[in-house]
Symmetry: C2
Subunit: 294 residues, 2 copies
Amino acid sequence: MVHRDRLHPTDGALGDNVATEPLNDFSRLCVHTITTKPWSIEEAARAYSAAGVAGITVWRQWLADRDVGVVGRMLRDHGLKVVSLCRGGFFPAIDAAGRQSAIDDNRRAIDEAAQLGAPLIVLVCGAVPGMPLDEARRQIADGIAAVSEQAAAAGVRLGIEPLHPMYADNRSAVNTIEQANDMCDQLDCPHVGVVVDVYHLWWDPRLRDEIGRAGRANRLFAHHVCDWRTPTEDLLNDRGLMGEGCIPLRAIRGWVEDAGFRGFIEVEIFSNRYWAADQREFLEKIKSAYLAHV
Amino acid sequence: MVHRDRLHPTDGALGDNVATEPLNDFSRLCVHTITTKPWSIEEAARAYSAAGVAGITVWRQWLADRDVGVVGRMLRDHGLKVVSLCRGGFFPAIDAAGRQSAIDDNRRAIDEAAQLGAPLIVLVCGAVPGMPLDEARRQIADGIAAVSEQAAAAGVRLGIEPLHPMYADNRSAVNTIEQANDMCDQLDCPHVGVVVDVYHLWWDPRLRDEIGRAGRANRLFAHHVCDWRTPTEDLLNDRGLMGEGCIPLRAIRGWVEDAGFRGFIEVEIFSNRYWAADQREFLEKIKSAYLAHV
């Protein structure tokens, strides 16, 4: 890792020389429950609230065996804004029964989001190893179309999260923000939009243009941050804390804000290293890294 | 892994319903020395020749401390066609001295290719963690431009190999075939073209169109095959044997051949598993997989 000051002398100014200002408080900071995986939803709520974190994105595993409406009130009682529910999607399947099962599960997710008070569900769209990607994309579009009316009626938005191409085998056949934008155009539903996660998209030469396109279409629904470590030792669970890697975080935030986004900045870090560490210390590191690097 | 017959019922017919015929001999089969990493160049030559493999791509490590011209004659004496030399590139660096050092190394690679009798050098273009990717791409184009005249004079072609986006941090800032085609347009040198490696490119929705574009420009210089395993356990050294994964190999070969390519099909597999196995048995598996899946 080359020292960042040397290679990002104008962080946030890539391409247009207008520097994006650092963030100076935590009013837009949201943390995903999976980022602090060892904590229960109650532990996370207490700790985030005590640390001054403003928002929480809840992964569905944290709602298992709980009254979802009660959890939503508990989070609000801690002063936390529920930003989104992770995750819906996984629409493609090898037969009609599998596709129907996925649609049913997404309908349950919409109900959960409504009960929780989450305005957005993040969609990891799905893929089946060996299924042609264009077929998977058709099934994804069909699946979203099948549930979009229910989502709209519930006041819940659906955010297509394009996933890094290294997950095209079994997690998502939507691997660029351009594909997500194209799919939104095709679906033409104001409740269906795009999630910009830097981990998945930072390498894409079209990223800036497609963020602008999403903004113009009023479909830029969420912004997730972490970092890309060198070397990355695990395809899934070796994400870096912001500043530990090579992603031009401030530049991308600048593009997202130029596109009109003023919502939460969500810290989503899957990391065996950090999950094994003291979670309170990790949360403090997240806050420092958020101010220094995002 | 879903059974392939179910999801690729018309392998090679994606999109146009014209089936690509299976390969029925080994006259276009080339193996990379790194695929059988435990073997020296002499062992590889004997084994490939005995197995009826027609071509060999030599990685530069196999030439260390050897007379390159002698190695080239030895390979030809075994009836092997030298397909390419791997690898040049790695042009970006944080200072001018580093960039000059990269250029010098690529000049040595051109000399080696000429001595070896390799008509092509595969370029892994390079990236520096933290350097903005657009800056890295400028340095790559400058580096190729600096050596292209020497390559042309030596009768050695340079093939830009776009690398999977998961290598954008430290191996290559050229991550799609569209970017490679754009760079070739910019350089406008008939000795500079594109290498299509399925492992890096299979997920790209623009792949077919950009393969066609490369063919029309007479710059489709090489075709590498392997497979993408689910799960992939290592970012570098867990490539699959053809048929073990989800890449639509026959469809992509069809696109490459539709674009006019009739050269060698090169098996390039980095695999800790296979490197630990008996290499003669592995070579037989490669031959079977080549006929069955490519």
